[in-house]
Amino acid sequence: MKKTLPLVVAANLFVYAVFFTGACRRQQTEQVVVTGASTVYPIVQMAAEELRRTKGLDIMGQGGGSTRGFEDCIAGRNSLGAMARELTPEEKAQVIALPIAHDGVGIVVHASNQIAGVTTDELRQIYRKQVTHWSSFGGQNDRIVVVHKAEGHALRGVFMDYTGLTPDEMTRHTDVTAGDNAQVIRVIANTANAIGYVSLGEVIKAAEAGQPVRLVKLNGIEPVMENVTNKTYPLFHPLYLISKREPQGGSRVLLDFLRSPEGKAIIRQGNYVPLE
């Protein structure tokens, strides 16, 4: 046994190495890989199901945030990157940005919270802790729990730009930091005095699924798809697919589909607003 031991160990390592490289190589088969903003993920997912059925196209979506979508795109790790925010000028210079939809950002509170709505200014005061109790809005005398999204999420930047809060104010007055949309919704569903901002479509879906969360008016505008579509609802952000060069093959098929009437219907179904 002693003599054969090194041989057996070496043989095993070899087998693992072969398996490992084999597993890596398999990824190179024709597949459209979309990585990036988790807000775009549901759209890609719905389109993938449809295109797999009708065209036999293999599309794989993965989250990871807008910035990852961009970096993967530059590094050639995906076919298309997904971004849920406006591109910075430097980013714009390096990729082709293909708008596919826009998405409202809902101001969310617990279902038991009776307030009708907030104005941009009140939102600013809440997130600066200048107003700290719901009684200021005619609600109960409970302390407002301010929920933010974590650093790196597109919506955090969108919210910051909209309210004009400084990066310092964004971190200093936070009660809870949550990661993706689902986490924010879960926190608010479990915290009667919380307020947060989430992709409108995700909140509508969660509320329909019975989660105790509700959207409130912003500047008196109802947060419904109609108002997001005609852009009277003031807080929204664009959704992009990005590519290093003019998309070809499967990527092209996916893009064309998302801009076709069927694709737009699917986008609307997910409570996003397709391109005109």
Binding site: L5, V8, N12, P167, V176, G179, D180, N190
Partner: protein, 274 residues
């Protein structure tokens, strides 16, 4: 000599499967260290030793995250250890066989509850009372590590020779002293149990992130707090570039701390003969 016999196939299979976990841990460590070292080199020791963790502004100070982790873990130990040791003492020294078996099964079950379930429960029961805060996070952690500490130190206490306890009783001392004798005899095993509980507390992420608030700040009992692991959880899914590598660095710190504690805890347990 070399017969491709059953014997050799057996060894090939056994060694192959035995190598797998070793390879997995080596690959994991290399992956983490590689990414973490890149981040550490790029950020620089001075910036790492700062308090500000503001990835959007390229500031990656880990001090407040470390403080948060230590604070949450320390308070969790303060809450869990007295309860766990009292329970372990009663169950191993005084409880009857049936009671002990039932209680140990229940405690084991508590220890086996998935952390996301404990987190969901804590969100509806603990957070309304104490807010998203240091104290909530520590209470949740205490709940998760108490079973580990209780069961492992119970095992150590049962190794105390019955003669020793009978001899103490024969001297006419009260039960308080008798149990002190037992705890003294089992001290290494108990230390091992506490250390292993601590390592579990350091690594726990999901349940804590659901109640801690995850806001990077200096620890304050009723204010939200962020730890190394909760920061990883809320930021990893959207991090890219240096931010992502900095998060790997946090993971690396946790891995090193847990490995060191595990080695120490096992050594203490071995000394106790468990």
């Amino acid at each position: 000599m070399f017969r491709w016999s059953r014997e050799r196939w057996f060894w090939a299979g056994a060694i192959g499967l035995g190598l797998l976990p070793v390879l997995a841990i080596v690959a994991l460590a290399i992956f983490l260290f590689w990414n973490a070292a890149g981040a550490a080199a790029q950020i620089g020791p001075r910036e790492l030793a700062a308090a500000e963790w503001l990835p959007q502004q390229n500031r990656y100070g880990v001090v407040r995250l470390l403080a948060g982790t230590l604070a949450v873990t320390a308070l969790a130990l303060c809450l869990a250890v007295p309860v766990a040791l009292s329970a372990a003492g009663f169950l191993s020294l005084y409880a009857g066989g049936k009671v002990r078996a039932a209680a140990n099964a229940a405690i084991g079950l508590l220890g086996g509850i998935p952390s996301v379930v404990i987190g969901l429960w804590a969100m509806t029961w603990i957070v309304p009372l104490f807010g998203n805060s240091w104290i909530s996070a520590s209470m949740v952690l205490a709940l998760m590590i108490a079973p580990t500490i209780c069961l492992l130190s119970g095992a150590a206490l049962r190794l105390v020779p019955a003669d020793l306890l009978e001899a103490s009783r024969a001297l006419g001392v009260g039960e308080a002293i008798v149990s002190r004798v037992a705890f003294h005899h089992a001290r290494w095993g108990i230390l091992g149990a506490v250390v292993l509980g601590t390592s579990r507390a350091l690594g726990e992420a999901v349940a804590v992130s659901m109640v801690a608030g995850n806001v990077v700040s200096w620890p304050s009992l009723t204010r939200p707090i962020a730890t190394l692991t909760t920061t990883l959880i809320v930021e990893l899914d959207s991090a890219a570039g240096l931010h992502r590598d900095a998060l790997y660095l946090l993971g690396c710190i946790v891995l090193i701390a847990i490995s060191a504690l595990s080695v120490f805890g096992r050594a203490a347990q071995r000394k106790a003969g468990i």
